[in-house]
């Protein structure tokens, strides 16, 4: 019956509600043990505290039984907090309730606006997600899961071999989990971004694993970057914490990042790997601090895992967000044809601050293999690490191999441990691959093509002929689809060059908060790589250049890549890059930027004679030469043509 039928009004509830609630069983106070001792006088005296029936309450307060009951029920209804029982759902099985440690589900699981924004960065079409999961291309694997599995299976095996220390999987897991808890204690939550600027050192991997464990997003920053380059990236990533390395000359990263907190609103914490500062505990101090709470909301595969800025061959860096689905699919699917196993030792010449380097970390982790570390590339150190560390797989850029070969360091080096040496990162001349192959007695040189946006897209296979492995980047990696399209966007025939487009499990969803970059980045679900490629009749791809590097000379498209390779061979030339220069009549003409060898001078005429003698058609010749002292390069040793174009 409605309350007003008993005469219960809001005014009555306001007057009697608290009293009725307290006198009823809702609040019980018992002094002594009167019922057991049958102290009936005490019971009577304290009945109000022990809890009264509705009738007793009514009699005491001058209300009817119905009024007392109605008021009590209304008060109980109003005060009852729903969802409170969730407090106990995580209890038991060894866990005790601690009020000071309790987090509501909202606190445990809710993601802030920045984390939600990152999730949108991996917002794939529902049909794509469903297809990838049903096909088994994506699953629940995460870096944290792989690390735990390896630590459980082979706790005493080396996970990381660095010049100064070797860490077992057990110790790697211990440090990573402790660091993840320490990050959480600092207030970081799932989806928060951790920027990292470190060489290929164990601390990079520990931080990466810790971020993955707690569901944070790692944003690697290239080592050469300083405050000017860093600020827009940190702001774009909304980084909350930065991990940095020791001083290099006058550059003291920890001081730079501490100072950047004034310019980057989101940046709250700076963690150097050595030399603590006020307000900046070292990584080791965080690892050893505690005890901390368990991670209650660990990262899962669909969460954003990594935020990489593209390597910079474009005019402006673009942010690529990968979750564990896209980040780990390649590693899992390519492992079998590399015959990757737990006994392998992987060495990355690529920096971990690049997607290529991250990919190699994940590759080793996928099978519980060992990561051999080369903190920073130097030709002699790379060769020394191979000889002493005896890796079974080497991943390097063409520039790394070229530098070692030019220095003659590979002529006598013992490369017998290598099963595979995979070259990637930029176009590799066939003669470079062959030169390395000649120095590998048992292993095979492979080539791989990839991008930050998709990790590994093409790969030669171990059983390919040497000619295929040295002159092409092979065939699509498992479950990836590639096509070459012509100027009109139609699929091109074999042997006809065109733009390389790709789709599949490792391809990202789009650039983060960058409408301009996303416009035209995808066509019908295919990612436009911007690379030019040609496919032979056996299905092997060869990268022939960059679409934006094409020079449109009066309507004729000139691909400068082959010409650059020839000019690089000129005895007076150390390095060459050809970019378009504006021309009033032809629209564009070719301008060659040349770094001369040994400070020599080289003229346009000499270059043209050289090209003529090598049978290059005149229309492909550059029409201007600019001598420069140093070529602008990305951290992965790719020429940044975007910086040359304005000077042409």
């Amino acid at each position: 019956m409605p309350a007003h039928k008993y005469g219960v009004t809001e005014s009555m509830i306001a007057s009697y509600g608290d009293l009725v609630f307290r006198l009823s069983n809702n609040i019980q106070i018992r002094r002594g043990d009167p019922i057991r001792l049958k102290q009936f006088d005490v019971i009577e005296r304290e009945r109000a505290d022990l809890g009264m029936s509705d009738g007793e309450i009514g009699a005491r307060l001058g209300l009817s039984l119905e009024q007392a009951r109605t008021i009590r029920i209304i008060m109980e209804h109003r005060r009852f907090r729903t969802g409170h029982y969730q407090r106990i759902l995580a209890l038991g099985a060894g866990k005790r309730y601690r009020d000071e440690r309790y987090l509501t589900p909202e606190q445990r699981f809710a993601m802030g606006p920045d984390a939600q924004r990152l999730r949108e960065g991996v917002g794939f079409a529902p049909a794509h997600i469903q297809r990838m999961l049903e096909q088994g291309c994506w699953n629940g694997d995460t870096v944290g899961r792989w690390l735990s599995q390896a630590a459980r299976a082979t706790p005493d095996k080396a996970a990381i071999i660095a010049p100064a220390a070797t860490l077992t999987y057990r110790e790697t897991l211990r440090r990573s989990e402790r660091l993840a808890r320490a990050f959480t204690a600092l207030g970081l939550r799932k989806g928060d971004v951790i920027a990292i600027q470190l060489a290929n050192v164990p601390e990079f991997m520990i931080t990466y694993f810790a971020a993955a464990t707690m569901g944070a997003v790692l944003a690697p920053m290239h080592m050469p970057y300083r405050a000017r380059e860093m600020v827009p990236l940190l702001r774009h990533a909304k980084a909350r914490l930065a991990v940095c390395g020791p001083a290099v000359g006058d550059h003291v990263p920890v001081e730079m990042f501490l100072a950047l907190r004034k310019e980057v609103d989101s940046l709250s914490h700076v963690v150097p790997i050595e030399a603590a500062r006020p307000g900046a505990q070292t990584l080791q101090q965080l690892i050893e601090a505690g005890p901390f709470e368990d991670i209650r909301n660990p990262g899962v595969a669909s969460d954003p895992a990594i935020l990489c800025f593209t390597s910079g061959t474009s005019d402006a860096p673009k942010a690529v967000v990968h979750n564990s689905y896209t980040m780990l699919a390649n590693n899992r699917l390519c492992g079998p044809f590399y015959e990757l196993g737990g006994n392998d030792i992987l060495l990355s010449g690529a920096p971990f601050t690049h997607a290529f380097g991250i990919c190699i970390i994940n590759f080793a982790l996928s099978v519980g293999a060992t990561q051999l570390l080369l903190p920073a590339f130097r030709p002699d150190l790379l060769v020394q690490t191979i000889v002493k560390g005896r890796p079974t797989l080497l991943f390097a850029a063409p520039a790394h191999i070229a530098a070692c070969l030019h220095a003659g360091l590979l002529d006598q080096a013992d490369l017998s441990s290598l099963r595979f040496a995979t070259i990637s990162g930029s176009a590799c001349a066939p003669q470079l691959a062959r030169a390395l192959q000649e120095r590998m007695p048992t292993g095979k040189v492979m080539q791989m093509w990839g991008m930050t946006e998709l990790f590994m897209g093409l790969n030669t296979r171990p059983h390919d002929a040497e000619s295929v492995r040295s002159a092409s980047v092979g065939r699509p990696t498992p479950e990836m689809e590639l096509r070459i399209v012509d100027d009109s966007g139609q699929p091109a025939d074999d042997a006809r060059p065109g733009e390389l487009q790709i789709r599949g499990p490792s391809v990202f969803a789009g650039y983060l908060d960058n409408t301009q970059a996303n416009d035209g980045a995808f066509v019908d679900g295919w990612f436009r790589t911007g690379d030019l490629a040609v496919r032979d009749i056996d299905g092997n791809f060869r990268i022939t250049g960059r679409l934006k590097d094409l020079i449109n000379r009066g309507g004729i498209k000139i691909n400068p890549t082959d010409v650059e390779v020839l000019i690089d061979k000129h005895p007076k030339v150390l390095q060459c890059a050809i970019v378009p220069m504006p021309d009033e009549i032809m629209g564009e003409k070719a301008c060659a930027f040349i770094v001369p060898r040994n400070d020599e001078t080289v003229t346009l005429d000499e270059i043209c004679e050289w090209l003529q003698s090598n049978g290059v058609a005149k229309m492909q010749w550059p029409e201007r030469v600019e001598l420069i002292g140093e070529m602008p390069m990305t951290p992965t040793r790719k020429i940044i043509k975007g910086l040359l174009r304005p000077r042409a």
Partner: protein
């Protein structure tokens, strides 16, 4: 038809029946004492006008492992209450068949006129007065020094049975709990209650001086049937269709399901105070194997020397 009954023999038979059927203990509550404590409308005569005796039955016993399972699973270990009801149900028939005197199984549910937290009859009061347990600092949950934490059921009968006495000593707080209270001002049950609904004071001898229990807060954890009207009312007031759906989705769906199937699960899942209670979790005779051994030892000791 009523038969002539030897009251002492009848009591022995009644109690033996209970123990034979799996009760940890049983006893007869003092009807006069019940009537002086229970409020009008909740006295045995309100259910059975000619009631002469109240039989209380205690059932329980969890393995140590069971006390450690996750909270959401522990509720299923609490189904011992059904065993108590079963014994009581059988006992009512047993009394009528054996003695020809009416008996009634006391319904263990709430009084629908009195709201969600008021029972027809206080089974706890019956048990306490029958000596099956004493009130603890954990919200007056009854504890027995040998059988620990139990579920109770009652049978009312017109058969006259001599009442038992309540326990002479209250086992709560246990010595370790007293020690903790003196260190931190809380016993384990107070410290680990997820909604902090318990507090209290001990006297200088370590006995209970005051027990404070916020049953309303406890109900938020353990009586989720009360959540449903609130969830529905909140949903009705919600204007945003998405928020409306959200309020009725996820965990609420499970509550709806549990309610519609009449399941008690999710309604009594919080045992955190009992998990940390040494009397509940280490009761020596709640373990059936130890109980049998103790019974054999007692029989041997009482047997005449051969």
């Amino acid at each position: 038809m009523k038969r002539s009954v030897d009251s002492a023999l009848a009591k022995r038979k009644v109690l033996d029946y209970c123990l034979r059927k799996g009760a940890l203990c049983a006893g007869i509550a003092d009807l006069d004492a019940i009537n002086r404590v229970a409020p009008a409308g909740h006295r045995p005569a309100d259910l059975m006008p000619k009631v002469k005796s109240v039989v209380s039955i205690g059932v329980g016993g969890n393995t140590r492992g069971a006390w450690g399972v996750s909270a959401k699973a522990l509720t299923y270990f609490g189904s011992t209450e059904a065993r108590a009801y079963k014994i009581a149900f059988g006992l009512a028939f047993y009394i009528e068949h054996t003695f020809g005197i009416p008996a009634v199984y006391c319904p263990p549910d709430m009084d629908s006129e009195a709201g969600a937290r008021v029972p027809f009859q206080s089974l706890k009061l019956h048990a306490e007065l029958a000596g099956l347990g004493a009130r603890s600092l954990a919200g007056d949950i009854l504890l027995h020094p040998e059988f620990g934490y139990m579920y109770f059921a009652s049978v009312f009968t017109e058969l006259v049975l001599a009442p038992d006495e309540p326990l002479k000593e209250n086992p709560c707080p246990a010595p370790s709990c007293v020690a903790m209270y003196r260190e931190v001002g809380k016993t384990p049950c107070m410290k680990f209650c997820p909604v902090q609904c318990l507090s209290g004071k001990l006297d200088e001898q370590g006995r209970q001086a005051e027990m404070y229990y916020d049953m309303a807060a406890c109900a938020e954890m353990s009586q989720q049937f009360e959540a449903m009207p609130k969830v529905l009312a909140n949903a009705m007031r919600e204007h945003d269709p998405q928020d409306f759906d959200d309020l009725l989705a996820l965990e609420s769906k499970l509550l709806f399901y549990k309610l519609s199937t009449g399941s008690h699960a999710m309604f009594g899942q919080c045992f955190e105070c009992m998990r940390v209670c040494p009397i509940a979790t280490k009761a020596p005779l709640a373990d059936p194997i130890l109980r049998s051994a103790a019974a054999r030892a007692k029989a041997d000791a009482e047997a005449p020397h051969k």
